[in-house]
């Protein structure tokens, strides 16, 4: 049976290599380019933005951007209401971040927010929270 598992592992590795070499998938450790809807930390910091933290509650409690709102994925309607309330008080750029460069949660939430707040300027942070510690 060990030989069978080895063959399965080998075939899976070959498939993975094909995805990486053919460009079907990005390298997991690759530095992503600035994509549409993304903003660099340096650019966001010079603006008075509304930070939205899309990581877990424990990660948020351990440290977050100044005055960042916690985006609770278990209660997206409540989270969006909080963001809307903050934005209506003083309309400005909204920047959402998740854990690091490879995470896609912030992009997904940014897309949802753009539908709910079409007048707002909304970005996801390039590099996510890990950009803060670099």
């Amino acid at each position: 049976m060990l030989r069978e598992f080895s063959i399965i592992a080998l075939l899976t590795a070959l498939g993975t290599a094909y995805s990486l070499i053919s460009g079907l998938a990005p390298l997991p450790w690759a530095e992503p380019k600035l994509q549409a809807g993304e903003i660099r930390l340096a650019d966001a910091q010079v603006l008075d933005v509304i930070w939205v933290d899309a990581r877990s509650e424990a990660e948020y409690a351990a440290g977050h951007a100044p005055d960042a709102l916690f985006y609770d994925q278990g209660d997206p309607a409540g989270s969006i209401a909080d963001i809307l309330e903050r934005w209506l008080q003083a309309p400005r750029v909204i920047v959402i971040y998740c854990a690091d460069a490879g995470c896609g949660t912030s992009r997904q939430i940014a897309e949802e927010l753009r539908r709910d707040l079409p007048d707002a300027e909304i970005y996801s942070l390039k590099g996510g929270w890990s950009a803060w510690s670099e």
């Binding site: 069978e4 399965i8 997991p28 997206p76 896609g104």
Partner: protein, 149 residues
């Protein structure tokens, strides 16, 4: 005369169903690993590069064991791997349900919106039981699905 053993016959049907499900699950995710990485992250267990690595490897593993289940000399390990994967999927769905996460399961690559956890868990349980059935047959008679008399 070739007599078809009912157990082997149902075993063949079970293997075809499982292989079809896993191929259908793996192929779209190979085409769009970034979307699958987002689905993995939404479970809030791993994120970033780990989620992307999982999104690249897991669909290929699903495809390989799907084909492996139809290949006599890979059947046992494929069934074992399938049982392990389905166990992990069920645990993840139970965990997400308990945490109240309203996420797309990412099972077949498409965005299905809010999950119906009852259905997801029941479906995976049925697939798990089918995989165990296939493994039992494979262990008993690893290479000959039909018996000649």
């Amino acid at each position: 005369m070739v007599r078809v053993d009912p157990t082997s016959f149902f075993g063949l049907i079970a293997r075809l169903v499982l292989a079809g499900v896993f191929l259908q699950a793996g192929l779209p995710k190979v085409q769009d690993p970034v979307a699958f990485a987002v689905a993995i992250e939404n479970y809030r267990i791993i994120s970033g590069s780990w989620a992307m690595a999982g999104a690249i490897v897991l669909p290929w593993l699903e495809i390989v064991i799907g084909i492996g289940l139809l290949t006599p000399w890979l059947r046992r390990a494929s069934a074992c791997t399938m049982i392990g994967l389905l166990g992990v999927f069920i645990a993840l769905h139970l965990l997400s349900w308990a945490r109240g996460l309203d996420i797309d399961c990412g099972c077949f690559g498409e965005s299905a919106g809010s999950p119906d956890y009852h259905w997801l868990i029941l479906r995976n349980l049925a697939l798990l039981i089918t995989s165990i059935f296939v493994l039992r047959i494979a262990l008993r008679n690893p290479r000959a699905p039909f018996r000649s008399e």
